[in-house]
C-alpha cells in the first residue's frame, strides 16, 4: 500500500490530475449550461474536435495563443447555433441533432486538416501555452499549480463564475427557468428561444475551448482522435454533478484522479502480486465513473424541461 501512497503524495500525480481535468471542466460547464436551459447537447464530442482543430490552425497561421482560444470559442458558439436552430427553433430530437453535429463537426475538422496539410507525414507543431511557474510559490498546492498553463487557471476560475451567473444574475435565473418550465419564461415576457439559444451558444463556446486546450496547452499539435470520448465523459459528469458547477469541478477532478492513477498503476508492477492486462487499468476510471454516476444520479434533480422542445402557444 505504501506504493499507492507514494503515487498519490507525489506532486507529479497532482500535476497530471489538473492537466487531465482541465478539458473536462470546460466541457462539463458547457454541457451544464446547455442542459440547465433544457437542451441536451451531444454535439460536444464534435465541437471539441472542431475547437481543437480551429484553435490550433489559427495559432499555426500566426495568431497568438489567446486568439486561438477565442477562435475555438467562436467556432463552438457557431456550431451551438446550428444545434439550437435545429432543436430550439424547429423542435428536432435533441439526441439526433446532437449526434449528427458530432459526426459533422468531427468529420469537417478532419477534412479541413487533410485539405490544409495534404503532404505532411508528422503533424506540424506550434508553440503551446507555457506553464505559469510563478504560481509555484503558492503554499501547499504550489507545486501542482506551477506546472499548469493559464488555460487551467481559466478553467478553475470559470467554475465560480458560471455558478454565480446561474444562481445570482437575472440572466442565470432565466436560463434555469427555461430548463424548468419554459412557459413561465414566456409568461414573464422573455423569449424562450432567445434564452435557450444564448445558453446553448455559450455552452458550446466552452466546449470549443475544451478542445482548444488539447492542442494549445496539453499538446502542441492536432491529431485525429485526440478528443477520444472526453465529450461523452462531460455529459456523464453533468449528471454526476446534479447540474451544479461546484460538483462538476469535483467530478472532473475525481475522474482525472482515477485516470492519472491508472496510468501510474500500469507502470508500477510491485503493487499487485499478479500482472494484470493493461486494458483493465484503462477501464478503471470509466468503471469508477459508472459507479459514482449510479450513486449520485439516484437523487439527481433533473431540470424538469430537459429535452422538451417548447413551441410558443402550445401546452
Amino acid at each position: 500500500m505504501s506504493e499507492l501512497y507514494d503515487i498519490v503524495a507525489s506532486s507529479a500525480f497532482w500535476i497530471a490530475v489538473l492537466r487531465i481535468a482541465t478539458p473536462l471542466i470546460f466541457g462539463t460547464l458547457g454541457v451544464l449550461l446547455c442542459e440547465r436551459a433544457g437542451v441536451l447537447n451531444l454535439g460536444i464530442e464534435g465541437i471539441m474536435v472542431a475547437g481543437a482543430f480551429t484553435g490550433w490552425l489559427a495559432v499555426f497561421q500566426g495568431a497568438d495563443l489567446w486568439t486561438g482560444v477565442l477562435v475555438a470559442a467562436m467556432v463552438g458558439a457557431l456550431l451551438g447555433l446550428v444545434h439550437a436552430s435545429l432543436t430550439v427553433w424547429l423542435g428536432v430530437s435533441q439526441h439526433v441533432s446532437g449526434l449528427g453535429l458530432t459526426l459533422l463537426a468531427a468529420s469537417l475538422a478532419a477534412y479541413a486538416y487533410r485539405v490544409s496539410f495534404p503532404t505532411v507525414s508528422s503533424p506540424p507543431t506550434i508553440e503551446a501555452f507555457a506553464p505559469l511557474e510563478a504560481l509555484s510559490a503558492v503554499p501547499l498546492i504550489g507545486p501542482a499549480l506551477g506546472a499548469q498553463t493559464a488555460m487551467t487557471i481559466l478553467a478553475l476560475m470559470l467554475v465560480p463564475i458560471v455558478g454565480w451567473t446561474l444562481q445570482r444574475t437575472p440572466a442565470g435565473l432565466a436560463v434555469r427557468m427555461a430548463g424548468e418550465n419554459p412557459a413561465a419564461v414566456e409568461a414573464q415576457g422573455l423569449s424562450v428561444l432567445a434564452v435557450r439559444t444564448s445558453a446553448v451558444m455559450a455552452g458550446s463556446a466552452l466546449m470549443g475551448v475544451a478542445g482548444a486546450f488539447l492542442t494549445l496547452s496539453a499538446f502542441n499539435a492536432f491529431f485525429f482522435n485526440m478528443v477520444n470520448g472526453r465529450g461523452w465523459i462531460c455529459v456523464a459528469l453533468v449528471v454526476f454533478a446534479s447540474w451544479r458547477p461546484g460538483k462538476a469541478l469535483l467530478g472532473a477532478l475525481l475522474f482525472a484522479a482515477f485516470d492519472a492513477l491508472q496510468l501510474r498503476l500500469q507502470q508500477s508492477s510491485g503493487l499487485l502480486p499478479v500482472t494484470l492486462p493493461y486494458q483493465l487499468y484503462l477501464m478503471l476510471p470509466y468503471l469508477l465513473s459508472i459507479v459514482a454516476l449510479v450513486v449520485m444520479a439516484r437523487r439527481a434533480a433533473y431540470p424538469q424541461a430537459l429535452m422538451k422542445p417548447y413551441r410558443k402557444g402550445e401546452r
Binding site: 437575472p170 435565473l173 434555469r176 427557468m177 413561465a184 409568461a187 415576457g189 422573455l190 434533480a301 402557444g313
Partner: protein
Amino acid sequence: MTVSAGQALPALRLTGISKRFGSLVANADIDLELAPGEVLALLGENGAGKSTLVSILFGHYLADSGRIEVFGQPLPPGDPAAALAAGIGMVHQHFTLADNLSVLDNVMLGSEPLWQAFSRRRAGRAKLLDTATRFGLAIDPEASVGRLSVGERQRVEILKALWRGARILILDEPTAVLTPQESEQLFETLSVLVREGLSLVFISHKLAEVLRVCDRVAVLRAGRLVAERPARGTSRAELAELMVGRSVQAPTRLRRAPGEVVLDIDQVSTPAGRHGRLDNTSLQVRAGEIVAIAGVAGNGQQALAGLACGLATARRGRVTVTGEALPARPRAWISRKVARIPEDRHAVGVIGDLTVWENAVSERLHTPSFSRFGWIRRAAARAFAISLVEGFDIRLSGIEVPARTLSGGNMQKLVLARALAVGGSEAPVLIVANQPTWGLDIGAVAEIHRKLLEAAAAGAAVLVISEDLDEIMTIADRVAAIFKGRLSAALPVEEWTPGKLGLAMAGTSPDAAEHIDAA
C-alpha cells in the same frame, strides 16, 4: 362590485379580434370592453375560443386582425412583455411556475435587465412581502414552489402578476384545480383585488361561480361572441343555453334498488407509488348503483382505480369481483367484463397515432373475434368499430383517421363505447370510470353521464372517481371522499352537502364537518 355607468376610458377594449388556425376559426370578429373595477366573466365551452382570446390579449398568439387598447393606449400585438408593461397580468390554468425554484425566483424572473451582474433580491423580496400583505396573500418567499399546495401555487401565480404591477388580471379557469374551500378563498382574494382597483377577466365554464363572482358575463360560442349580459338578471339555464346553442337536457336518474356486491375492496393497502397509495381502505360497490369517489388529485385515486380494474395489486387486504379474487392480469379482468375508463384519455385511453378502429379493438385484440392464427381479422375489427361509432354517435370523418384527431368529447365517447362493449352482447359487470368527463363541454358531459346512468340501470356496478363535485352530485347514488389514501364512509348522496364534502376531501371527518355546518 358594481359597474359605474358611463366610464370614459375602459380598462380594456378589444376591437374586431379574429384568429384562425388552419380551417378552424378560433375567434371571429370579437368586440369586448372591460370597465375599470369590473369583473367580467368569459364563458364558453371547450373550444369556444376563450383561451385563444386571452392568449391573444396576453401576447402568446398574434391575432389575424383586430386591435387591443389598454386604458386608451394601443397594445403592441404578440408580445407578452408589452402586455405585462401595460399592466395586464395572467393567471394561467396550467401554472407557469418552476417547481424546483423558490417563490421569489419565480416572481422575479424577467423583471430585471438580463445583463445585470447581480439580482436585486433583497428589494424584490421586500416588495413581494409588501404586495402579499396588501392583498392578504401570505407566502414564504424562499419556499420551493414544488412544496406548495395547489392553492398556494395559484397564490404565487397571482402574486407574480401583482408584483409586476398588474391593473388588469386575467384568470383562466382558476377554480378548475381547487377544492371548494380553496375556491372560497380565491373568491375572497378576488374581492380584495377589485377593492384595490383591479379589473378582472374571469374565464370559466362553471355557471354557478360565474354568477356569483362576476358583474357581467360574455358568452363565446364557436369563436363568436354570442351574448353579453349583466350577471344580475340572468340565470344558469339561460347561460347554459347560450353556451351550447340549444337547451341541454340534464340526464335523469333512474333509481333502482342495488343488487348484490360486485366490487369488494376489503382493508386494502397498496405500496406508495408515484400516484399516491391506499391505506387500509374498504369499499363495496353493488350491482345497479353508482358510487363516486370525491377528492383532490393525488390522494390515491389512481391507486384505487388501478386496483379496481386489475392494473395494480394490493399489498395487504383483498379485492374481489362478484366474490372472486382475479389474477393480477388486466386481460383476466377484461374477460370478466370489467370496463375501464382511464383518467387521461390522451395518454392512456387511446393511442393517438393509431386509427380509430385499431383503438376500438385494442382491449380485445387477443379474442377469437378479432384475431385468428396471430392475424388481425380486419373486417370484423372494422365492423366492430363502426358499430361503436354508430351506437355512441361518435362524430368523425372515418374510422381510418388517427384517434388523436378526434375532439375531446368524441375521443371520450370512443373510450366509453369500447369499455361498455367489454361484455360483448351482455352488459359489463363493473365499470371503473376515472375522471370520465374531465375537460369535456356541457353537451358531451350530459351524454357520458346518460350512458353511465343507463349502464347502472342495466345492472352494472359503477365506480366513478371525480374531482368535479357537480358531476358527483348529478350521477352518484353513494359518495365517499378520499384523502391521503383513506376513504370516508360511502354515504348516500343526499347526506352530503358541497361544504361537507369539501371538508371530507381535505381530511376532516364528516362528523366534524357536521359540527362546522351547524356552527
